[in-house]
């Protein structure tokens, strides 16, 4: 036998060809594949054809990925057939499929707002969207003017969106720490770019992107450092193996690490760093600093997408980390999470009161909501998981709808996000103001809206999990938060309109559909949530 064949044989023994379950990975593969095709579109399609092709491709990809998720759930992958795929790198189970479904639907609606081209006035006779004519051109420079004159639009946003969605789909399903990290980067990097692409107020947009990128890089570093320490602790990056070391049923498998395996210092510091990295993405206090600036500076469709989908993905990953990897540490992480939840609720609600910009207001409100969701996470019970799943579904559509309404209120400088300009909106455009009021009431958790059902679910789970005090703080924070939501409603309906106030642009059916979906989901989940609660509670079991 020749040496080469021997080597090949040996190599085959040592590195078995990975067994990939393409069917179960279909949602991720479809989205990432479409993103790659989108990049090719950018390279090969003529400029005229790109907008329609990209928007259609993104919509189709997300819709078929959602169909794949539904198909997987229908064949029992969420419950009885749940399992690990791709050699244990990813979990296909209830929470993963539920959250993937939510992320895909949210993104599908977000694509509608991305594709809106009626709101901005035409630039040199061509329809333009909310994104910069040419992202690389210096703001205000000759290159930008030329790009605007030529009527360029940045159709790259669609592949970027798809890549981000691909990462988000993997994030809550990741079943080892490296996959988690890669998913984080895959969805974060496109988001940094998307944030920088606003057509108006470009400097602010770029500033937001830079801040987001720097702080995001920081948090990624924390996460990575945490992963390294965890590896030192358990000798593995796989969730199940780390959990078994934590539970003391396994003394580690890597001989080189025998000296550190089971060292609790590594576990605690590593675990804390991991959780920090995720809390950053969630936007919980004290890792919330980026939220207001980024929400304000990013193009509003991106803000809406990011605020809704990122939160879903990040909470999914946080849930899996705490419930699958660190259940043995519940007594250690619970007090910390208590603190984070309480501070998030109160800081978010209190600081929001002083905000004068709609987007910043919604940013602080999202911080408060992160606190509410954490209350459900802390429950550490199956009903805690399902309540968080339900809350995320409810919250993401309200958020998306609210930001879609923000894109409609405009004056000469683009979107009029300063609150004083919203005065009297209810007089001039009762319908738009009423829709926004519905979203605000849902944020405030008024009964008959999805916000109330979600809040009730998480507080109920927290109370059953023995966190009654947290419920009381949550209720107080809700009362504070109600104040500023109501203030916006007062402004819209009870103030006299300003003479030179903004006008409400008439959107194309795209944004109208997005907002209508938001309203419909808000009301349906508020009045008849039972079906979705069932769905969430069936999906509430993690595969280990």
């Amino acid at each position: 036998m020749s040496t080469t064949t021997e080597l090949t044989l040996r190599a085959q023994e040592m590195v078995p060809a990975p067994d990939i379950e393409y069917g179960q990975l279909a949602p991720v593969l479809i989205v990432i594949g479409a993103a790659v095709v989108g990049v090719l579109f950018e390279a090969f399609l003529p400029r005229r054809a790109r907008y329609a092709a990209q928007a259609l491709l993104a919509g189709l990809a997300l819709a078929s990925a959602f169909a794949a998720v539904v198909g997987l759930a229908a064949t029992g992958r969420a419950t009885t057939e749940a399992g690990l795929v791709a050699m244990g790198a990813l979990a296909v189970d209830g929470p993963a499929l539920f959250l993937q479904g939510v992320i895909l639907l949210v993104s599908l609606v977000a694509v509608l707002t991305f594709a809106e081209r009626r709101l901005d006035p035409r630039a040199h006779g061509r329809h333009v969207d909310s994104f910069a004519a040419e992202g690389a051109a210096v703001p205000g420079g000759e290159g930008e003017k030329a790009a605007v004159r030529a009527g360029f639009t940045t159709t790259e946003v669609y592949p970027l969106l798809l890549f981000a969605v691909g990462g988000m789909l993997v994030f809550p399903a990741a079943n080892d720490l490296l996959t988690l990290f890669i998913a984080l980067e895959v969805f974060s990097l496109p988001l940094y770019v998307l944030c920088a692409l606003a057509r108006r107020k470009r400097l602010m947009s770029q500033e937001a992107a830079l801040k987001y990128f720097l702080l995001g890089a920081f948090s990624s570093a924390f996460l990575l450092f945490g992963i390294a320490l965890m590896y030192g602790y358990a000798g593995s990056v796989k969730y199940a193996e780390i959990a078994s070391v934590v539970a003391d049923t396994n003394r580690g498998t890597t001989e080189a690490l025998a000296g550190t395996t089971g060292n609790d210092v590594l576990l605690l510091v590593g675990g804390a760093l991991l959780v920090m990295g995720l809390l950053f993405k969630v936007g919980a206090v004290p890792f919330h600093m980026w939220t207001p600036d980024v929400y304000q500076g990013a193009p509003t469709p991106v803000t809406g997408f990011m605020a809704a989908a990122t939160k879903v993905a990040a909470f999914g990953a946080l849930l899996r980390l705490l419930y699958v990897v660190l259940p043995g540490l519940t007594w250690d992480w619970r007090p910390v999470m208590w603190g984070v939840a309480i501070v998030s609720m109160l800081v978010g609600a209190v600081i929001a009161i002083t905000q004068t910009d709609v987007k910043r207001l919604l940013a602080y409100s999202s911080i408060a909501h992160a606190g509410f969701i954490l209350a459900g996470v802390i429950a550490a019970t199956p009903s805690g998981i399902s309540s968080v799943l339900f809350y995320l579904a409810a919250y993401s559509f309200v958020t998306l709808g609210a930001f879609a309404v923000v894109t409609l209120v405009r004056d000469a400088g683009g979107e009029a996000t300063h609150l004083s300009k919203w005065a009297g909106l209810g007089r001039r455009s009762p319908l738009v103001a009423a829709v926004f009021a519905i979203f605000l009431l849902a944020f405030a958790g008024i009964p008959m809206t999805s916000g109330f059902a979600g809040k009730f679910a998480v507080f109920k789970a927290a109370a059953e999990g023995g966190a009654g005090a947290l419920v009381v703080v949550g209720v107080i924070a809700s009362a504070i938060a109600a104040f500023f939501y109501i203030r916006v409603i007062v402004l819209m309906f009870f103030s006299e309109p300003k003479v030179e106030g903004p006008s409400v642009a008439v959107p194309s059916p795209l944004t109208t559909t997005a907002i209508a979906v938001g309203v419909a989901v808000t009301l349906v989940l508020g009045v008849a949530p039972q079906y979705f609660l069932d769905l969430a509670s069936q999906a509430g079991v993690f595969v280990r």
Partner: protein, 531 residues
């Protein structure tokens, strides 16, 4: 399955609200007539409810029960006892008058260009009907969660009614009026929302307790009461007290009880007279009703524990409300403070834990609704004529507008509980009921009656008697529409004052049930002592 009568009573105004809101901008008058027709049809249905209700029958009748949110242990459960029937009837009765009295309150300002999309008139009447629907559901709900949902949700239409359609009199210009209005609306909402959110914590706590002890969380009032009486559900003393406080606080804000009352004078002062009637005569009754049904029913021991404090607060409300009413310069705020005093009587009657006290309190809710409606609506007609809410701006009105003055006087006399008018019966019952168990409280409360005579008669004297002020010389008397509002109310006041039996027959069995929930019986008459 029988016809869901209670759902129908609530659904009719709800559908009417949607229909009214959908009337095109140019057809304002059609919207008004539609709202009036819907409210009258609701009254007919409510009358059917009252006749179908058998006072001697089961405790809860006309019950409906459907699955709603199984995950939260929530069912769509409706049912009425006598107290619920009386209050549903009151609500359905008053709303047509509110609509009729507010006929022109939401007309567009003169000189304002009509806008195709902005339809305040349609909105005004739609909101009134929406409030009616939600209040009726609250009176009929026997599921705590269902009750909570509508208890909270009714704040939103109420908020828009207060903030969006203020009284145009009393402020220097439209801008300042708008500012005061939105202040009043926000104050109303924040007080009630905060109370409601505290109640939410207690509602969740109740679920946790039932889930813990019964194996499955439930919000069904009957199920919880039965489980308590059979000993299946035993709340720890502290838990029960905390939950009671959570519920009671929300109801005390709504009712309103001193010291949580300060939103009421603002809200009633700044809103139009019909909306003020809606607040104090209809919506606030949900608070006192809920004390009877939920606080006493769910937490009997904690209710007994809290009784001394609640009685003291009720007495403070009675005296404090009356004293501040005497000091008011604004007619509507005076009526608001008078209402605070009256709510003190209602709460006193409820927590006296005697059948006369609670029966009286229930009658009081109904009679106070009618008498305040009469007084407030006539006051509203008066204010709309002169464009001022200040008492000092009036004088000698009875000479130029005798009918207006006369009806105002009757409304006022009803408010001070003159024998022969309906409120007398209830106030007397409350006092007797209180006296048999808490003589000292009864004596203090009696001072409230004296003070009531003072603020009503002084108000009448300053506005209606004396020399005719030049500004009121040309004041027209009540118009036909206004008479149609006031006359039936006065007839009712007299009728129920002379012959309260139909009402007491319906209410008394329900009160007996409530008392048996808290395991209280009337104290024995002290025959020995009298010897």
């Amino acid at each position: 399955m029988s016809f869901p009568l209670l759902t129908a009573v609530a659904a009719l105004p709800a559908i009417g609200a949607v229909a009214t809101a959908a009337v095109p901008a140019a057809r304002r008058t059609a919207a008004k007539w539609l709202a009036l027709a819907v409210s009258l049809a609701t009254l007919v249905l409510a009358a059917v409810v009252a006749f179908r209700f058998d006072p001697g029958g089961d405790r809860y009748q006309l019950t409906e029960s459907h699955a709603w949110i199984a995950d939260f242990g929530v069912r769509y459960e409706l049912g009425v006892d006598g107290i619920g029937v009386a209050l549903i009837a009151l609500t359905a009765l008053l709303v047509p008058f509110v609509v009729l009295a507010g006929w022109h309150d939401a007309d567009p300002l003169e000189g304002r260009t009509p806008d195709r999309r902005w339809r305040p008139t349609q909105g005004f009447f739609a909101l009134i009907l929406a409030v009616e629907a939600m209040v009726i559901i609250s009176f009929a709900a026997t599921d705590v969660f269902l009750f909570y949902v509508f208890f909270e949700a009714m704040l939103i239409p109420m908020y828009f009614l207060i903030g969006g359609f203020g009284d145009r009199a009393g402020a220097r210009d439209e801008d300042e009026a708008a500012k005061q209005r939105s202040y009043a609306a926000v104050k109303f909402l924040l007080y009630n929302l905060a109370g409601g959110l505290i109640m939410l914590a207690a509602v969740i706590g109740l679920y946790a307790v039932t889930a813990d002890q019964l194996g499955e969380g439930t919000f069904s009032l009957q199920a919880i009461v039965e489980a308590r009486q059979s000993g299946e559900l035993a709340m720890a003393q502290n838990t029960e007290r905390l939950l009671f406080l959570g519920f009671f606080l929300a109801f005390a804000v709504k009712a309103p009880l001193w010291p949580l009352h300060t939103w009421l004078p603002n809200a009633m002062g700044e809103s139009t007279a019909p909306v003020a009637v809606l607040i104090t005569a209809v919506v606030d009754k949900v608070g006192t009703f809920a004390m009877l049904r939920f606080c006493l029913g769910l937490f009997p021991e904690a209710s007994a524990w809290a009784t001394p404090v609640v009685l003291v607060l009720a007495l403070v409300s009675i005296i404090y409300g009356a004293l501040l009413a005497i000091g008011q310069r604004d007619i509507k705020r005076l009526i608001a403070y008078a209402s605070i005093s009256h709510f003190g009587f209602i709460i006193l009657g409820i927590f006296a834990m005697t059948s006369q006290g609670q029966g009286g309190a229930t009658l009081y809710m109904v009679n106070h609704g009618i008498s305040t409606a009469a007084l407030m609506l006539v006051a509203g007609f008066l204010i709309s004529r002169r464009g001022s809410r200040l008492i000092a701006d009036y004088g000698g009105v009875q000479k130029v507008a005798p009918v207006l003055a006369g009806t105002f006087l009757i409304g006022g006399l009803a408010t001070l509980s003159l024998p022969g008018l309906a409120p007398f019966v209830s106030e007397f019952l409350v006092l007797v009921g209180t006296f048999t168990r808490y003589p000292a409280a009864g004596i203090v409360a009696t001072f409230g009656i004296v003070l009531a005579a003072l603020y009503v008669l002084v108000l009448y004297q300053r506005t209606m008697t004396g020399p005719v002020r030049p500004e009121v010389e040309r004041m027209p008397d009540l118009r036909k529409r206004e008479l149609a509002v006031v006359a039936p109310l006065i007839v009712l006041l007299v009728f129920l004052g002379v012959f309260p039996k139909p009402l007491t027959d319906i209410v008394n069995p329900a009160v007996e049930h409530t008392l048996s929930d808290v395991q209280k019986t009337d104290p024995d008459p002290e025959v020995e002592a009298a010897k």
